[in-house]
Amino acid sequence: MIIKMNKKGDSILLVLFEVLAVVLIAFTMIRIAQGFASSETVIKQNTAQDIALMVNTLVGVPGDAIVEYPANLSNYNLVMDSTSITLKSISLPELKKPGVDRTAYFYLPNGYTAGGILEAKSRLCLEKKSKSITLGECHGP
């Protein structure tokens, strides 16, 4: 059986298709915009870069030193090894997507090591002892 559609039917179908397409494109663009421009992404990138710069600075300090990062990092997990620092958002029920991990790189002299993991702690400290740089939670006032 062949169903014939008149011109008016065609037009309604096309209008529906157009509306659907426009809604889909608008939705896609908003999602892309949210993903790229969310402050979460920017904060993670800047924090990772800040910590990498702090490691570079500590390498340039003769002797031992300890420095606290001046921001609350309780929403993130941090993993540092001898070449990089990575920030991950912690998985909270209210956050549907944890977002992209952000990594920043630094370069240590031969014989130096760096490492540490910090899970959802508000205060972050970097400590340089001899040739070792450790990331950890700050203690004391």
Binding site: M5, N6, D10, A33, Q45, T57, G60
Partner: protein
């Protein structure tokens, strides 16, 4: 469908063909614009990064800083001339070879220090990091104390930075 209806459908197809391309371009342009904005927000000035990396050259005794042999005290903003060579530089600033060209590379020069050579007194040779290709992006100048066998004197360390080739 009559002939007029068929014509309408064909016309809409052409319209949607063109509109599809235009919309794709708009979406891509929008995404690129936002990515550019995000890059602006996360931008770190290369001068700052280079300055912080190069602190090690004049303050860390594992690089070139002078350390008093008896007390162990490190003199900040100093150069021990016996350490000032390419091997030490590449131990002090280690980049992995496969991506070294993408990272900061350095050329270091002491402007007023001379050493003796078979041909007479010459300026201290410049030293380079791995994958330095003479594409200087910026130059940092640091006043330093140079320690050599004769004693100590003031000089200027020029740190030429290659941000990216």
């Amino acid at each position: 469908m009559d002939r007029r209806g068929q014509f309408d459908v064909a016309r809409k197809s052409i319209y949607w063909g063109i509109a599809g391309v235009v919309m794709t371009m708009i979406v891509l342009g929008f995404a690129l614009m936002i990515a550019g904005y995000q890059n602006k927000l996360t931008y770190t000035p290369p001068e700052l990064k280079a300055e912080l990396i190069s602190l090690r050259f004049v303050n860390n005794p594992d690089c070139f800083a002078y350390q008093e042999p008896i007390t162990g005290k490190v003199i900040t903003n100093s150069i021990d001339l016996s350490k000032f060579n390419t091997d030490n530089l590449n131990k002090c600033y280690v980049v992995t070879a496969e991506k070294a060209y993408k990272d900061y590379n350095f050329r270091l020069a002491l402007t007023n220090t001379q050493i003796s050579s078979p041909t007479g007194m010459i300026t201290v040779p410049e030293i380079y990091t791995v994958d330095y290709y003479n594409v200087d992006s910026l130059t940092l100048k640091k006043p330093v104390l140079v320690y050599d066998t004769k004693g100590v004197h003031e000089d200027q360390l020029q740190i030429h930075v290659e941000v990216k080739v």
